[in-house]
Amino acid sequence: MSAVDLTVKLGPLTLKNPVVTASGTFGYGTEFSPFLDLSTLGGIVVKGLSLRPRRGNEPPRICETPSGMLNAIGLQNVGVDAFLQEKLPALLPFDTAVLANVYGEREEEYVQVCERLEGARGLAGIELNVSCPNTSRGGMQFGVDPVTLERLVAAVRRVTSLPLIVKLSPNVTDIGEPARAAVAGGADILSLVNTFTGMGIDAESRRPVLNNVVGGLSGPAIKPLALYMVHRVAKAVDVPIMGMGGIMNAVDAVEFFLAGAAAVQIGTSNFLNPGGAATMVRDLEQWCSRHQVEKVRDLTGGLRT
């Protein structure tokens, strides 16, 4: 087997390999130490951080669906300060890019969280989660209105020197629009997709399965939708893309590279196959080797149409 070059460069962010674990599905990283060596991963995106700790929604918070799951965790997290004091230092020993996923109810909250993250040792970048309800705009998501989104990204851009990833919501008519807005605001990288809005109902009790009524759909069910959106965004903008949505194995990852992603994020798969992200790095290397692909980055956008 010839050596495969797995490194990928996403603008200012260089990853040793393109396999990154997705926010909200990998805890703060060390939870997975019993299952894999964190240093084998290209990167880790931690659970979404808000300014203050959040307890999240009342349970039930998840619901299984055909080849997918709905979640309405409600962004339970330790808050940015505890992250900096307890969680981030625990990741210093590992050779992987740690990315902070940031969440706010108002533009100022995003800015404040990013300000605190500035200069933090061992932090490789910031990913803005713009799929949360924008409380100052009546609960509409930040990510669906291009104007609000561009302003938000620009505001964060002013306070951070870290590589800035904007994570797009798929719940839009044309994902090219928020993609362009995020780039106009100063995003270095786009990641997509976040979860699709959905709902589960229990016919027996006649109640929503989730206490929150609606939740976000993730897992293999959404893979064909996510692949399409990556393909679409790759045509709309020029910045590198991290693709995600239902990736379960190395072949799925290759499909996202071909559609236009420079790296992938692994979400729901971590729940059922906790060592899977590490296996995927090995399998991806083997796939490339078997297919005479010397550099994994050569796959990006390689779809033949």
Partner: protein, 273 residues
């Protein structure tokens, strides 16, 4: 490291009334499982169903490749339904062992009660074996809807005293198993009562009731809780339960539990499943 991978089904015994015993060839898991720890089991060849299901390890046996992991389970939905249909030789995915075990009684003189409701019997064969080996004389109080639902009694090591209760009176005490416990504790003198310890597993309302009994008698106890679980190891944040005195936060049953000390759960704030 925690085991995660495929394991083979060696046997899948139908115990009647929708209950089964699965014997799985899982030496790494069997070698390190403590009582009340659980495994996540994923069935099916595709991604539907997607998530694993939690099962207590009922017993650890001997198999061709070392320890076997034995699961006592009841068919309640799709995952358990598919599991029940599998033939020996089939493979399933397993992650485990997971969760915090029942802690030992510590007090060698403690009267020890095992309080099981329905399929909540599952963790007790293994716990009984460990308690007997450590010199305790646990007494099993086992409640179920009806006689036929009192499954798994022959999985227990010899030397365990058992009392049963059924809702319909078809076997043992007619009524709740909590009443058996109440009676036992009431019969103890108050000093012994405070040394008593109960290990409890069953449906949520039964555990809430048992918790109340324990608190009334100032007896100690540990409860093994249930909940829907997306991962089993602390990251999906689905299995949260409100703890007493933690008005602003939740415990995760999979990593902070499934066993919790009696008196630590805020039952009022739990929604019916």
């Amino acid at each position: 490291m925690i085991f995660s991978g495929p394991v083979s089904l060696l046997e899948n015994l139908d115990l009647g009334h929708d209950n089964f015993l699965a014997v799985l060839d899982a030496p790494e898991v069997g070698a390190s499982t403590e009582p009340a720890q659980f495994v996540m089991v994923r069935v099916g060849e595709g991604t539907d169903p997607l998530l694993g299901r939690p099962f207590s390890v009922a017993r650890i046996g001997e198999g061709p490749n070392g320890a076997t992991v034995q699961l006592l389970y009841k068919v309640v939905g799709r995952g358990t339904g598919i599991l029940a249909g599998l033939q020996p030789g089939a493979r399933v995915s397993m992650v485990g062992p997971l969760g915090r075990p029942f802690p030992p009684p510590e007090d060698p003189q403690a009267p020890v009660y095992l309080v099981a409701g329905g399929i909540g019997i599952a963790p007790f064969p293994l716990l009984s074996a460990r308690l007997l080996a450590a010199g305790y004389h646990p007494r099993l109080l086992y409640g179920a809807r009806s006689r036929g639902d009192l499954v798994g009694r022959d999985l227990f090591p010899p030397g365990i005293e058992m009392e049963v209760a059924t809702d319909d009176g078809s076997a043992g005490h007619a009524g709740f198993v909590t009443q058996l416990l109440d009676r036992h504790l009431a019969a103890l003198d108050s000093r012994t009562r405070r040394r008593a310890i109960a290990y409890v597993c069953g449906p949520t309302p039964m555990m809430a009731a048992t918790d109340a009994v324990l608190s009334r008698h100032e007896a100690r106890g540990h409860l093994s809780l249930e909940s829907f679980m997306g991962c089993g190891f602390g990251v999906c944040l689905s299995c949260v339960v409100p703890r007493v005195g933690q008005a602003t936060g939740y415990a995760r049953i999979c990593v902070h539990g499934p066993t919790f000390p009696a008196g630590s759960i805020d039952w009022q704030r739990i929604q019916p499943l």
